[in-house]
Symmetry: C2
Subunit: 290 residues, 2 copies
Amino acid sequence: MSATDLLSRAAASVALHIDGHLSDWPDIPVTHAMRHALGGGKALRGALVLEGGRLHGMPERQAIWPAAGVEALHAYSLVHDDLPAMDDDDLRRGRPTVHVAWNEATAILAGDALQSLAFELVSDPRGAPTGEARSDLALSLARASGGRGMVLGQALDIAAETADSPLDLRQVEELQSAKTGALIVWAAEAGARMAGADPAPLSAYGTALGRAFQIADDLLDATGDAQAAGKRLRKDAEAGKATFVELLGIEGAKTRANALVQDAQDALAPYGPDADPLRALARFVIARNR
Amino acid sequence: MSATDLLSRAAASVALHIDGHLSDWPDIPVTHAMRHALGGGKALRGALVLEGGRLHGMPERQAIWPAAGVEALHAYSLVHDDLPAMDDDDLRRGRPTVHVAWNEATAILAGDALQSLAFELVSDPRGAPTGEARSDLALSLARASGGRGMVLGQALDIAAETADSPLDLRQVEELQSAKTGALIVWAAEAGARMAGADPAPLSAYGTALGRAFQIADDLLDATGDAQAAGKRLRKDAEAGKATFVELLGIEGAKTRANALVQDAQDALAPYGPDADPLRALARFVIARNR
């Protein structure tokens, strides 16, 4: 299966699962805003969970729980990052951001409830088969998301905007590894964690993939098309932020992203050809236009 | 032990545990803001977890994990509720709110990281003894906190401010049961969940206690002293919100709160005199001045 087919199938499965899960939730703006924020994404993280789960014998009807969970966590982070006090973005996934379509209070609450929803989904007994595995998923997701993971990355990113000097390559790598890398690594590892297996190969894959993803994001920000991307571009240059493109040059960034994609594919060796869909996903992350 | 002794010991234990847990976290404003938000509270929820845990044979060194977790969850909710787009409060626990002491972005991020921290703490293997119990704690905490629990309550509370007509008694009860009740019930039940025991008696206790707590909060808001309370009072009357005091009158509210405290104490019958500290806590919630 091609990476785009894999992603569109994962996006459809996640959307169906979340629609079902939220179907009897209160009919109030916060719930509507949660659904809005959950829609329209690539579902890269969800696809990683489903594929990693498949490699470890987890049927999709079980792996869909943590897959939907990581998409809810990611959606919360976008809703809050887009707030006026943070990155102040109006457009996301080609649609108005939550605080534009509703208001700031609704965006704060919808993001908060999406974070709770993420932990609800990964902890559901219909997902990972043992309490140990579900608890391990929740603990690792909390660490990847919190003040030493994703939130740390966003805080460093905001601090960089007003710093006296731009970040160097090591600092940009540290920032990005926290801001987007930790959650991608979590998604890659989740299938192994569900099965109580060693997550090391998927962890190495996810680490390389996450780095390639972020370099591709910087290339997209510098050279991409805002309409295809569905969000505002050239933000980093306008904000005077150090990016991989600025630090490595466009060609240097492309070379490095390609090498990381090779690392990601190599890390899957223990799984043999069974992991070809994950290899295709790795190639996709540097070829995407959104 | 008196309720005030119980609470001050719980507050000290939670503070010590969280200080230790955060000791090697990044030295950035978000971490400092998290510590600020975690300090100075009554630790009612943490004390409920520790006492419920004690009744089920859980040593404090284990019960402290979910006790600190629920205090982190509660702290996150206060930081976000105080934001300008929400209740816009400057003072909390007698100190400046996070967005006043730092800024809005830091308050949003610190709240987000406190929510992640809550799930990290309840999922830690040094806490509840089995994976099943830890996963059950995380799932029930996510449900109590999210879009059908605490966030729903806050959303209904904000909606009530601009509604055409004030809420009736049933609607106020529904709002408060979601906004503050769900988390208090979770805290009361947590000790039984840790031990894999039936949480029903503690659930009944927590439900009655949560209702009494909210009526006491309304009485405090209407008749209390802002300096002792450490936060702005008379907010509800100014906002034209329906409260238990307005709907039942001051004497009616006191009578109802007393009846609920009796219910809470009666629910503890299966535990005999071992539950006397929880009975004292129930009496305390309607006698407190903050």
